[in-house]
Amino acid sequence: MAEPQRVPPPAPEAFVSIAGLSLTYGAPGQVLVNALQDIDIAIDKGQFVSLIGPSGCGKSTLLRIIGDLLSPSTGKVLIGGSEPREARLDREIGFVFQDSALLEWRRIRENIALPLELRGTPKAERERKAEELIQLVGLDGFQKAWPRQLSGGMRQRAAIARALSTNPRILLLDEPFGALDQITRDRLNMELARIHEVTGVTVVLVTHSIREAVLLSDRIVVLTPRPGRISRFIDVDLPRPRGLEVRNDERFDDLVRLGNRELEKGYM
């Protein structure tokens, strides 16, 4: 059994490279809070990477920096060679939040097509793409439903479809299934794995469930409590495609244990 090892700093040819990144909060004169420190991560094209760590470790903050919702104090993020801002303006970033954040005044199809509408894509093209995504995420029959008529799991499916509408090169998910019950969560994990496989999109998932991270990822980045630093990379060498039954695998348990041990280190 190969013990996962520490991985060297990002190679310049990586698809996403995060180098020397840190973030410090606080206005001048106030107490400064170190949220993130010395983060170096390289992500290959098409890779599925999870960020995991105790609450308050800055994993969501890191994701928001990649998605250009926040700026780092120092360091650099490159997505396919572009700064996050450029990548965002080129509509190369898809973002899914813990809250589905659907627009209650739009039907599901128009919610999914929203980013295309904002980009100025013609209506026929928008509708074609929305229909394709509705099939992909398994929402057929709900094209004309209002968001409030959907369950939490279905709302997240719609949010994922919306994030994919512009064919982004990277999909960022911030604890997207955190508010769902276990059965729905399992099902959506499988959906996400399938979507990753079908589209080949690069995925960064923030989660606080080590089991979810092991189930889905190629690589797990474990962060320490504040200030968030990289505690360890865990490469998940379980074969793909993975079904839920992979959780009965001994290797799966080993990786979960490894992850838990790494997380607990932060509290000692």
């Binding site: 250009d68 919702l69 965002r88 809250d99 954040a101 209650e104 209002w146 409030r148």
Partner: protein, 265 residues
């Protein structure tokens, strides 16, 4: 055809919902008429339904003419006041400093009784219909300004992030996010304004007018023509109800996604 009839007749259809208030109305009218006959209540205390009906139907032209004037004042004032309120509410929502500077005065002005300002507005705007519209607009202004501001500030922060990720521009954020999320608030304001606009028009006519339902009420009062006064009062109520129903219908059309526009069954 039979489809329509069935729709009207089924549980929660029109007939099912409408018969209790209709039955209550008929019962009240009969009781009312009966009490007046039994206790010989004089007409200046309480006119009978029949005498009110006669006041409306004998020579209905002038009464409906007055009602039309009041309706016109109420609607025109409602539209002008609501539009101005919407614009100011939008300015408040977008400029914190202007909101902080003016909001206390707007709220203070909102507490002035309309009967106190009506004479001033009539001095400013003259004795015609214009001054009645101005009083109505004054009343319709505040509810919408405050609700518009609240509504535009009520958008979801995560949806804001969604628009940011999608690289939306300023107008897109306004028209596709903030304005739609403000609409339920806007309709709360508009429904308040409906009631206020009829009050505003009639109060302004009390102060000074030679036409309109407020004028009819005042002249009937002076001559103790009580059936005519009651007729005018009922018509002003009907105007308010019809106007409110129209706004509720518009709400169903423009905010079909919101809980308040849907059936609470």
């Amino acid at each position: 055809m039979s489809d329509t009839v069935q729709k009207l007749l089924r549980p929660n259809g029109f007939v099912d919902l409408a018969w209790p208030p209709v039955a209550a109305f008929i019962a009240i009218v009969i009781l009312w008429e009966g009490l007046i006959a039994v206790f010989e209540i004089p007409v200046y205390i309480l006119p009978s339904p029949a005498s009110i009906w006669l006041a409306i139907t004998t020579n209905p032209g002038p009464l409906f003419g007055h009602a039309g004037i009041t309706l016109y004042e109420a609607v025109a004032g409602f539209i002008i006041g609501s539009l101005m309120g919407a614009v100011l509410g939008t300015v408040f929502a977008y400029s914190k400093i202007i909101a902080r500077g003016l909001l206390p005065y707007v709220i203070a002005a909102n507490t002035i009784p309309v009967v106190a300002v009506a004479p001033i507005i009539i001095i400013w705007f003259g004795h015609g219909i214009g001054s009645k519209i101005a009083v109505t607009a004054f009343l319709s202004f505040f509810p919408l300004a405050l609700n518009m501001m609240k509504g535009l500030q009520s958008y979801d922060r995560t949806i804001m992030d969604v628009f940011h990720i999608a690289a939306a521009n300023g107008p897109q954020r306004f028209f596709k996010m903030r304005l739609p999320s403000a609409l339920p608030y806007v309709f709360v304001g508009l429904k308040l304004n409906v009631t206020f606009s009829v009050i505003g028009a009639i109060v302004a006519e009390f102060v000074q007018a030679d036409k309109g339902l407020g004028f009819v009420i005042m002249t009937s009062y002076r001559t103790l023509a009580m059936p005519r006064l009651w007729a005018a009062m009922l018509m002003s109520a009907l105007i308010g109800i019809a106007f409110f129903a129209l706004i509720a219908l518009l709400e169903r059309i423009f905010v079909p996604w919101h809980a308040s526009a849907q059936d609470n069954r």
